[in-house]
Each structure stands twice: as C-alpha cells, then as structure tokens.
C-alpha cells in the first residue's frame, strides 16, 4: 500500500482495488484515531485528514495496513424504486443501439455496489453497470438536474440527491429521498452497500 502526503493535514492511501479501499476506509473509521478529522473513500484510495499539529500519520498507516484482506459482508441491501421516464432515455437508447425497454431492463436487472460518495451530499457512485449501457458523459452538462434523477455515465450509475448541475444521462427518476439532512444517517447509501433499482 502506498501512502502520499496531501498538504500537511492529509494522507492518501492507495489501494489495489475498490474493495480494498472500502476495507481500509472501514478500518480507519472503526479505529477512531484521535486527531483524525475525516476518511474519504475514493475509487482506489482513502484520504484521511487530521489536525496537522498532531502527526497521526504513523497510526493511520498502521491501521490501514492491518485492514482485513477479506471482509465479512457488512454492506446493506437497498432497493430504489424507479420510473424509467428520464429526458435522456430516448437518446440513450439511440446511442447504445438498444430499445428504451431494453435500456430500462438492463439497468434494473443488475445489482450495483456503492463505490464511494462525492460530488454532492448523498451522491453515491454505483458500479456494476451493464457494459452495453456505458456511455460517455453528455457533451453539454445540464445546469439543473432534478433531485431524484436516476442517471448513467461511464462505468457508474447514480441518483442525484439534490437539484444540481449534472452531465450524466438521466434515464429515470425515484421519489425516494436519497439524502435527508434531518435523517440519521442522512445519506441512504454508504460505501459497500448493494443497490437494486425496482421499476414501478
């Protein structure tokens, strides 16, 4: 595992895989190292931020390298109801060479893994998309994608938790609140969870 300094208050652990990033992320969170401010899982990394006046990098490294090689399954299974009526459904069908029914079917038949959250509160990058549905991002991002939009881009699918700009292809929507600041925890999804989209 390689460790890189990020300024004087950050340490980036590079992992061999997304799963390894999850295991290291969980180990660091569970260790509750004093001085650590946050741990953010990425696709192949875990960024740990801390108070620079207390050099906890060695402790973080020790916990990271001792993270289990295999993890007992600790993700949850989440169903997200979806209606496939998105503004990009037709365009996605044309670009993939599939019918709209086929796009919806291929999207909903998979079980996805939550890779990491970023971009906006509660925005979870889900991996496991059907290769036939891989599309590059839209040429021109939208200035406003409605909250609850179900979208695809590249190797990921996601639900937009809030109304934000967005460059992904919106193929449907869900009424489920993917992020609610008054809920505990506020985000519906966390790294390592498994997600299915259930057509209405």
């Amino acid at each position: 595992m390689r460790f890189l300094d990020v300024g004087e208050a950050g340490l980036l652990a590079e992992t061999a895989s997304q799963d390894a990033a999850h295991r290291v992320w969980r180990a660091i969170r569970n260790a509750q190292i004093p001085g650590v401010v946050d741990a953010v899982a990425g696709a192949r990394t875990v960024l740990v931020t801390f108070d620079p006046l207390y050099d906890v990098r060695q402790r973080v490294r020790d916990v990271a390298v001792r993270a289990p090689a295999v993890e007992s399954d600790s993700g949850r299974d989440i169903d997200i109801p979806v209606t496939y009526d998105g503004p990009d459904l037709d365009a996605s069908a044309i670009q993939t060479g599939l019918s709209t029914v086929e796009v919806a079917h291929r999207h909903s038949e998979r079980t996805y893994n939550v890779a990491f959250l970023g971009f906006s509160p509660g925005f979870a990058y889900l991996t496991g998309i059907d290769a036939a549905l891989r599309l590059p991002r839209r040429e021109t991002p939208r200035t406003a994608v409605p909250a609850g939009s179900v979208a695809i881009a590249g190797e990921y699918t996601a639900v937009y938790p809030q109304r934000t700009p967005g460059g992904w292809h919106v193929i449907g929507h869900t009424d489920l609140a993917v992020f609610d600041p008054d809920r505990d925890p506020p985000a519906l999804l966390a790294p390592g969870d498994r997600v299915r989209f259930v057509p209405r």
Partner: protein, 298 residues
C-alpha cells in the same frame, strides 16, 4: 485603572503560577481552583493563565477607570448596587462600582479582559502568601493596571498579506508538468468563488495520459483539469474530485488564498511538509497571544 475601594479579607492577584523554580524552593502559587480561574478568564477572552483576582470568602469593591469586560465566577456580584449574574461576561462602564460579595465555596475569581498588569516577579504576577513573593494582597486605595485590548488590532495588521502562496507539493505532481506552475504568475478570474479560485496564466500540461480515479479532495488543493488551467480549491470544495492535484496550499497560507480577489495576481512557492507544519503552529501561537492577552507574563 481599577481602583480598590474595599479590599475584602484576602484578595490576591493570581496568574497561572510561578513554575520551574521549585528546585530553588520557590512555591508555584497560582489559583487554588484552577478551573474557576480559567473559566473567569475565558469569559473575558483571556488565556487560561491570565492574571485575575482570587477572592476569599467575601470579595472587594472596585471602581473602573474605563469601560471593561469583566467576569466573576464563584461569588455574588453587583454593579452600581444592582445584582449582576456571575459566570457571565459583564460589560462595565467607566465609573461604575463593582461589589463582589460572598463566595459560594471558599474562593471566587474576578477576571478583566486583558488581565491585570501588576509587576512580574520571577516570571509570574501571582501573590505568594507563603513566601511573600509577588504583589501584596489588595488594600484600599490600590489602583490595578489592566492590559489594553489592542492586540487584536496588532494581529490584524500582521495578517499575512502576500502575493506568494506556499504550496506543499503532491500528491499527483507526477501527473502534470509541475515546473510550469511554481514561480509563474497567475491571475484570478472572475468566475472564482468560495468553491474554488480559477487561475489564468500558463497552461499546466499533463505529463501522462489516462484519467485519475476519483479521490478525496482537501481545501487548498490545486487541481489541474484537462484544459490546464489550475483551480485552487477553497473551503466549499466538493468532497471528491477526478483532476490531479499538483500541490496543496499550506494551511498557514489558506487565509491568503481565501482573500484572492478577481483580477489579483498570485504566485506559488513550494514548501516542505515539516516547514508547513511549523508555519501553521507559529501562526496559531501568534493568534492565541494576540486574541487572548495575558498569556505570557511580562
């Protein structure tokens, strides 16, 4: 400029204490209740160990020569005859009488913003009732000096104002032509905001192909998008990002970064991690000294 009208049975000045001289037989002195003493000090913005009054059983009556912030912990207090809350910051005007009454336990504490500037003996302003070192207990007619609260202004003048921002290189310096970045002059574009400062200047080229997998971001990170125009992330950056970060602004220089105005010019200089930590620690110390006067005796 705080006049003692009635001293109380035993009122002394106590700061954090006279430490490091025990090997010479010198008692440490300082407050008998360090917690109440510290809390009274904090209520008026002082460092925990600032010189304050320790009151025994019944407090003194004082008159202020100028407006002050004052707090009493562990004893009753009245201002110009009206009961005032203890354990709270009181703003007392010049000429008002402060009567500190009965203590709840054996002792109470009265702190003023800035701390009392009675003379220092062997590094402390504390009255040593055992050895006699330090100032004598309060007596009628005494006039106690208080430090003036101008140090926040002095700190504001000493705020880092520079057009050079120090950056700890990495973690993805190997993704871009870093040499083109350090030392070059950049201009802040108008579409900068508290999410990020967009910089106009020499384009920073990639030194390798491919896309960086998304990873966590930090405030101060300087990321390089495909168009080569760096973005300096500020406090409201997104949690993750996919552009390589060639360096991170030293925390001591983040205030400068947060003050960059559109049209302003800025250059970046590398600093190693250890030096960045020292610069930050120094700045924190100066902040504490400026905004919590009374911290250092003398």
């Amino acid at each position: 400029m705080i006049e003692v009208l009635r001293p109380g049975p035993l009122t002394t000045v106590q700061d954090g204490g006279r430490h490091g001289l025990a090997h010479l037989g010198v008692p440490a002195a300082g407050p008998a209740d360090w917690l109440s003493h510290a809390l009274a000090n904090r209520l008026v913005g002082n460092a925990d160990g600032a010189a304050a009054l320790e009151i025994t059983l019944t407090g003194p009556t004082l008159r202020c020569g100028r407006d002050v912030a004052l707090a009493v912990v562990g004893a009753a207090v009245a201002v110009d005859g009206s009961a005032a809350p203890s354990g709270r910051t009181l703003f007392v005007r010049a000429g008002q009488r402060i009567a500190i009454g009965r203590t709840v336990g054996a002792r109470g504490y009265a702190a003023v913003a800035g701390g009392f500037t009675v003379p220092v003996t062997l590094g402390s302003r504390s009255t040593d009732t055992l050895s006699g070192l330090g100032p004598t207990p309060l007596a009628s007619g005494d006039v106690l000096s208080v430090s003036t609260m101008d140090t926040p202004e002095r700190m504001l003048h000493a705020l880092p104002r520079s057009d050079v921002v120090r950056v700890v290189p990495g973690p993805r310096g190997d993704w871009v032509e870093v040499g083109a970045f350090f030392g070059a002059t950049f201009t802040v574009t108008p579409d900068s905001d508290r999410v990020g400062v967009r910089l106009d200047g020499p384009r920073i080229a990639r030194s390798r192909t491919g896309e960086l997998p998304t990873e966590g971001m930090v405030a101060g990170a300087i990321q390089v998008p495909p168009d080569g125009r760096p973005i300096l992330l500020l406090a409201n950056h997104a949690a993750t990002g996919g552009y390589p970060v060639l360096g991170v602004v030293a925390r001591a220089d983040l205030p400068t970064a947060g003050q960059l105005r559109p049209g302003g010019a800025v250059r970046f200089a590398p600093i190693d991690r250890d030096a960045a930590v020292r610069a930050y620690a120094d700045l924190r110390l100066r902040m504490d000294r400026a905004v919590r006067p009374g911290r250092a005796a003398g």
